[in-house]
């Protein structure tokens, strides 16, 4: 198990190096000299040259990359062209909002596991058909359509929840400390989470159905084990394994969904920050956001894989 974790951590380092090269190349290849952008429209060629030297733009590419990495390692993501603020500061204020949304969405997403299992155990009953049909319908709705629909129903028509922005305070970054904070979280989190619930419950149902028809569950029954142990011990663990993998792979979709959700709900998180920065060609902010997103994605995948290895001995021992 420790060997497995160590290997995964080494892999992680390589992934991060790869991503830093790609983002660096994007910055390098995008037309337009950053020195011009920084110096402003009416700068003298001399001033541009000065800034170029300051930024090291006259150095060979590998030196520039080295400096880029050096800055990243020290937590320096550069400064926003648009706001003239360090990107790190912008990230610091945006990350908690995104983290809160993501954690809430994942918690909601996990509801899909019991729902899917319930469906599978009641296959072909009215509950199963209702749950499955609902899941398929929700799964088919694009996240921004659902977002607008939720805004209209709960924010405008019923008027019971705020439908844009953020507010209130949290403790431990993500746990809402007051109603103001929670109320701003509910609609975006449910919007983002419910689509994932649909997806996960559908997958969990399929996986559970396969497991309860499997040979080893038949063996468990043939051993005279009570039904409770057949389901809770012999089926559950096996049925959750593939769903965890799917959930891990789907984290990318969750992050894409978070950008859209934040945008529609004007929730100031990393998604909205990057979205605005792209529109304004604010390159350092885009790069900072992308690096952060990659980092989270890779770490989250690692966590999922470790959970997976914890449950499945075949992986642990390989």
């Amino acid at each position: 198990m420790y060997g497995y974790i160590a290997r995964r951590l080494v892999q992680l380092v390589f992934v991060l190096i790869g991503v830093s090269i790609i983002t660096f190349l994007i910055m390098f290849l995008i037309p337009g000299n950053p020195a011009y952008l920084l110096a402003g429209k009416n700068a003298t060629p001399q001033r541009v040259a000065e800034i170029s030297v300051e930024l090291g733009l006259n150095k060979p590419i590998y030196v520039q990359y080295g400096r880029f990495v050096d800055r990243l390692v020290h937590g320096n993501f550069g400064e926003s062209y648009q706001f003239e603020r360090p990107v790190r500061q912008m990230l610091q204020s945006a990350i908690p909002n995104t983290a809160q949304l993501a954690v809430a969405a994942v918690l909601i997403e996990l509801l899909g596991i019991p729902l899917g299992i319930y469906s599978a155990l009641r296959q072909y009953t009215i509950w199963d058909s209702t749950l499955t049909t609902t899941a398929l319908i929700i799964w088919g709705i694009p996240v921004f359509v659902l977002a607008v629909f939720m805004q209209y129903v709960f924010g405008v028509y019923l008027g019971i929840l705020p439908f844009y922005g953020t507010g209130g305070s949290t403790f431990l970054w993500v746990i809402p400390a007051d109603w103001n904070n929670l109320s701003h979280l509910i609609l975006p989190a449910v919007t983002l989470g419910i689509i994932e619930v649909a997806y996960i419950s559908y997958m969990q149902r399929a996986s559970m159905l396969e497991v309860i028809r499997s040979d080893y569950v038949r063996t468990a029954r043939a051993k005279g084990l009570p039904e409770r142990s057949v389901i809770l011990k012999h089926s559950l663990k096996n049925a959750v394994i593939p769903v965890l993998t799917i959930a891990g792979i789907d984290l990318g979709a969750l992050m894409g969904g978070a950008i859209l959700t934040e945008t529609v709900f004007s929730r100031y998180g990393v998604g909205l920050m990057v979205y605005n920065a792209i529109n304004a060609r604010d390159l350092p902010v885009v790069v900072g956001g992308v690096l952060f997103a990659t980092f989270v994605y890779v770490i989250a995948n690692l966590v999922v894989d470790l959970a997976y290895a914890y449950i499945d001995p075949r992986i642990r021992y390989e």
Binding site: Y124, R213, S214, D215, Y216, R218, T219, A220, R221, A222, K223, G224, L225, P226, K233, H234, K237, N238, I241, I311, D312, P313, R314, Y317
Partner: protein, 342 residues
Amino acid sequence: MAERLLEVTDLSTHFFTYAGEVKAVDGVSFTLDRDETLGIVGESGSGKTVTAMSVMRLIPDPPGRIVGGTIVHKGRDLLAVSKEEMSDIRGNDVAMIFQDPMTSLNPVFKIGDQIAEVIRRHQGKSKRESWKMAVDLLAKVGIPDPEERVNQYPFEYSGGMRQRAMIAMAISCNPDILIADEPTTALDVTIQAQIMDVIREMQAQYHSGVIMITHDLGVVAQMADKVMVMYGGRTLEDGPVDEVYYNAHHPYTWGLLGSLPRLDETEKQRLTPIEGQPPNLLLLPAGCPFSGRCLYEMPVCAGEFPALEMVEPGHGVHCWIPVAEREKIRAGLPQFVHRVPS
């Protein structure tokens, strides 16, 4: 007389599918005594597994249901006991080994855990005691380094070892009846013989009755005392192994014996397959399921299933062809003459 362990009478198990009612087992009867081995043979789809699963009461419902008959185990009708009582019987009085050892063990639990679990369930032993018993059982079925191996997961076992572990699990509570459903089909030939030996040893030690389901008439000849030939959910012929092999009365049995590799013919072991396809259970005739494929079919065959006819004590057959006629036909079957199994 040996103790009667199982008496199955007129067992019928049907599956109610969208395509129609599948009579997977239709009026099957047999008995099993202590220390006795019953072989059940027949082509794929003849209802062997469904018969075994019916005895275990493990038919998935829906779509399946035991629609008739009785299954009496030591004086108690298993079809009449409650679900809870049945699960006390399963794995304890009646145990089963399945065809595919690669998939029959749970991949995420240790072998020891999977064996100890049965012991705890039925014998109320502690965790430590049952674990120790699991080690002993593994040793008994011939797993090397049982102390070590008991801590391993199924994926660390070879196919033959997994089947040994399955056997260990099945015998852990000293069952009266051990059902082995094609226990060696998924294994290679050298391993097959070893597994059969283990089953035989365990039977000798625990005095169980064994039901051995197989395609392989050679296995039946080696292992079984009596044999039941199934086809299309029906019993076509049954009796003591020697009787049925040397004195077969049903055309289907002739066909099966004809497709047995001849033991005296070492160079070319050619199989003579039975002509035609195994039956579609949805389109079975009301009469003998083998009609349509039978070389000696008569007009009456498809219309009505023939009653049981005892040709010798303990040797029964369901066939419309008159006895004298059958014996004449059999005498003229070339490939049948030197059939010497065992």
